[in-house]
């Protein structure tokens, strides 16, 4: 495919390859060269080979073909008359390489990269960053009396002095305290209770759970000790913490949490079909769970397994998985009731979460894409109780439009996940309860986290466009300075992912994308705004390996994403990716996180 005159400029030093058959005597111009951006693909598909000793486009330009040349022929000196000499190495231009940016992570004042600051008479410095896709930053000239006063460069070796006036006070919007109470033993009994570290579950709840929904055909309850995990299990639909509001509503006040025990929902239908979609993690529970991931049971957790059998053929309809979650919630809810009032019991741990607006810091937003395509691809937003079912709004019924939650609402169990995409990449209920990206952004004193936007991935293409455009309008109204977009899963939701990133990036907002791609989930769509990406894969071969939550966000991933966002917001270039998934890139990035 030929180059245009504009694209030619960018590729003068790339190898010269004929795009199409050209007859002898052709004087080579832009239209005769193949586009170098797809060389790696062409080489991978064995459509082309690139040898040493080839000419660059600059050298071949204007030369004449001696013989007829076939498409995708690499041009070498023997094929052409009138080849230009290789130009002498051009001296390094004083670009961002020359900027006094530290090699190690550094702190810097004022974001803009060194670029000519054009004095303007409106009291603002106007900067244009060539490396930031047309991002224009406008900000007051630091209180200097003269407009166009020098701006401290990014990452200056000696940081520019902080402004004299004290930073504006942080505004705490709401505070949530999670009080942890230990569970050392779970047993079945006549009534549900919690005392002295023992959680007793009323056995008769199993019968009540069966009545939760007409589609529920059977429910089994089993306590699985950490030492006895080699137990066969149906596919794991969800992991649900036991947490109850003791004071206040979701996102504020006090939430009592049982630590050391967690509910695990598994299921199949009457015909023996696992309730899953892409990939299933039925098997031995010691092998099929990545213990310790935010969404998973921890190494020492007692698992309370609720295995639900639903009506034949309903596993891939919305009502089927929802019925299973409703059944499990009957049992979980009884445990919540038992821990609502623990006055006089001393928690082993208290964690305080604050929704803080930090004036004077760059405003950022976290956008989390969730599944919304029917069947088990649904999520309940803001249930009445942490991680509960009742009171939650289904994002499919909401039309998958963007909905804002406060960080505390997320961390207080504001999402009950029905999503049953590939086991390794799905974000389940416990994941949201301790979402590492939300926790890290919320406590980052350099940033002002405005909120967490949940946006569904609809089934229909025009709905995908609709929700992405609504996200763009929301971002514009929020006036944020940066955004991180995450998605669970891979495949067609990567279409939403790329459109969501474009909706943000095209508004001049620096954005970082976070997803599983690696080998199996390679992106098939993309755009120029997706130039700062974080890979969630943990599988050595780059696959959806059907180990629960293996390829979901960890605190390490969150740290890289946030560092990348700050770096991009500061105007420091993010290097382009390798053409293929390469674990070494991720390892190198990890080393840059302090």
């Amino acid at each position: 495919m030929s180059l245009s005159k504009e694209t030619l400029e960018a590729h003068l030093n790339d190898p010269a390859v004929l795009c199409c058959r050209r007859p002898a005597g052709t004087v080579l111009s832009a239209a005769d060269f193949e586009d170098p951006t797809i060389f790696p693909d062409l080489v991978d598909s064995n459509l082309m080979t690139l040898k040493e000793g080839g000419l660059t486009i600059q050298q071949a330009l204007g030369a004449t073909l001696i013989n007829d040349g076939e498409a995708l022929t690499q041009l070498t000196p023997d094929l052409l008359d009138g080849v230009k000499e290789a130009p002498a190495e051009e001296p390094e231009e004083a670009d961002e390489e020359a900027a006094p940016a530290d090699e190690e992570p550094c702190s810097c004042y004022a974001a803009p990269a060194p670029a000519p600051a054009a004095p303007a008479s409106d009291g603002y410095v106007h900067l244009h960053l060539d490396k930031a896709e047309g991002l224009d930053l406008v900000f007051p000239a630091g209180g200097a009396p003269v407009a166009g006063a020098p701006v401290p460069p990014a990452c200056a070796a000696a940081p520019a002095p902080a402004p004299e006036e004290p930073a504006p006070a942080d505004k705490v919007m709401r505070t949530l305290v999670k009080k942890d109470y230990p569970v050392t033993k779970v047993e079945l009994g006549d009534a549900t209770s919690y005392a002295d570290g023992v959680l007793t579950i009323d056995e008769s709840l199993v019968e009540a759970a069966k009545k939760a929904d007409p589609l529920v055909k059977d429910v089994e309850l089993k306590i699985i000790e950490p030492s006895e995990r080699h137990v066969y299990s149906n596919t794991i639909m969800d992991v649900i913490p036991i947490a109850a509001k003791a004071e206040g509503k979701l996102g504020e006040g006090v939430t009592n949490v049982l630590s050391g025990a967690v509910f695990v929902l598994t299921g199949m239908d009457e015909a023996g079909v696992q309730v899953h979609e892409f990939g299933s993690c039925e098997g031995y529970m010691d092998e099929k769970i990545r213990y310790g991931r935010p969404g998973c049971p921890d190494a020492d957790d007692i698992m309370i397994r609720v295995d639900v059998k639903i009506q034949e053929g309903t596993g891939m309809e919305r009502r089927g998985p929802f019925a299973a979650h409703s059944a499990a919630d009957v049992i979980v809810h009884s445990c919540r009731e038992a821990i609502k009032d623990l006055d006089g019991v001393k928690p082993v741990k208290e964690e305080t979460f604050k929704d803080v607006r930090r004036a004077g810091r760059p405003r950022v937003v976290l956008v989390k894409e969730i599944m919304g395509q029917g069947a088990m691809h649904d999520n309940l937003l803001v249930p009445t109780e942490p991680c509960g079912v009742k009171g939650g709004q289904k994002n499919v019924d909401l039309g998958n439009v963007p909905v804002v939650l406060s960080p505390n609402e997320v961390l207080d169990g504001g999402i009950h996940a029905l999503a049953c995409i590939g086991p390794a990449t799905k974000e389940i209920t416990r994941h949201f309860f301790r979402e590492p990206m939300v926790e890290a952004l919320q406590t980052d004193e350099e940033l002002d986290l405005t909120g967490v936007v949940f946006i569904g991935s609809p089934q229909v293409n025009d709905e995908k466009t609709f929700v992405s455009e609504r996200l763009g309008a929301l971002i514009e109204a929020m006036e944020v300075d940066g955004a991180i977009v995450t998605t669970e899963g891979f495949g067609n939701n990567h279409i939403d992912f790329s459109e969501n990133i474009a909706a943000i990036g095209s508004r001049g907002v620096p954005v970082v994308g976070v997803t599983f791609a690696a080998y199996q989930g390679q992106l098939v769509v993309g755009n120029k705004y997706m130039d700062a990406m974080i890979e969630l894969n943990k599988d050595p071969e780059g696959f959806e390996n059907e180990i629960l939550a293996d390829n979901t966000t960890t605190p390490e991933d969150a740290a890289r994403a946030i560092l990348m966002l700050k770096t991009k917001m500061a105007g420091i270039p993010i290097e382009p990716p390798e053409h293929k998934w390469d674990e070494a890139v991720i390892e190198a990035n990890k080393k840059l996180v302090k």
Binding site: T37, E70, C106, G142, G360, V524
Partner: protein, 245 residues
Amino acid sequence: MPTAFKLTTAKGLKSEIYVPWTPKPVWTPLTKPLSECKVAFITSGGIHKKDQTPFNTAGDWSYREIPSDTPSDQLMVTHGGFDNSDINKDVNAMLPIDRLRELVKEGFIGSLVPTFFGFMGGGGNVDKFEHVTGPEIAKKLKAEGADIVLATGGCGTCHRSCTLVLRCCEAAGMSTCIIAALPPIARQQGAPRITAPLVPIGSNAGEPNNPTMQMGILKDTLNAMEEFDHFGQMKALPYEYRHNV
């Protein structure tokens, strides 16, 4: 941005995921069984009827209407972007018109539209293909009731021109697939669906005078269209033909 603030940054961070830059997705799901589908075929490989005006090989965004019942020996190629010898041996190597009629006879597909389209995508005026030729062909095929539009490119720029026209068809409500000799170009240009046999430019639909391969490529392509469930997917097909020109 606020006036002054502190950000921890790092130099040398590298994006971790390769992202192809593609145009906006266009997508029309295939909702009928193949046996009920009306199928169209278009090619940017410079095919036209012998009694039609040849294409201008320097660049041409016009198109030729080829009745789908045209005998294959009345078709020819005018294209300067690749070696024409395979098509001269058997036009089905670029426009598998005989094979498509056999597919109807077999009941594998429902029917063919009355009109196929040939154009010469080499050089390829992007603007004209995107805004004139593409919409015109899409409108005519839609009016003829096409459910599926299959296509071959020819050379590199032909794959681009072809993809531009297919995207117009997809946007007009037809499910499309390009049988690509140069899949990276089809993908970069935003083809909704791609199948990729290992064939050279100039025999994009399979080896000349090898009806078994040509049929296999068509059937596998149609079957793949039933599997593809979202924009931008590609399937490599197990056919290989090399042509040493």
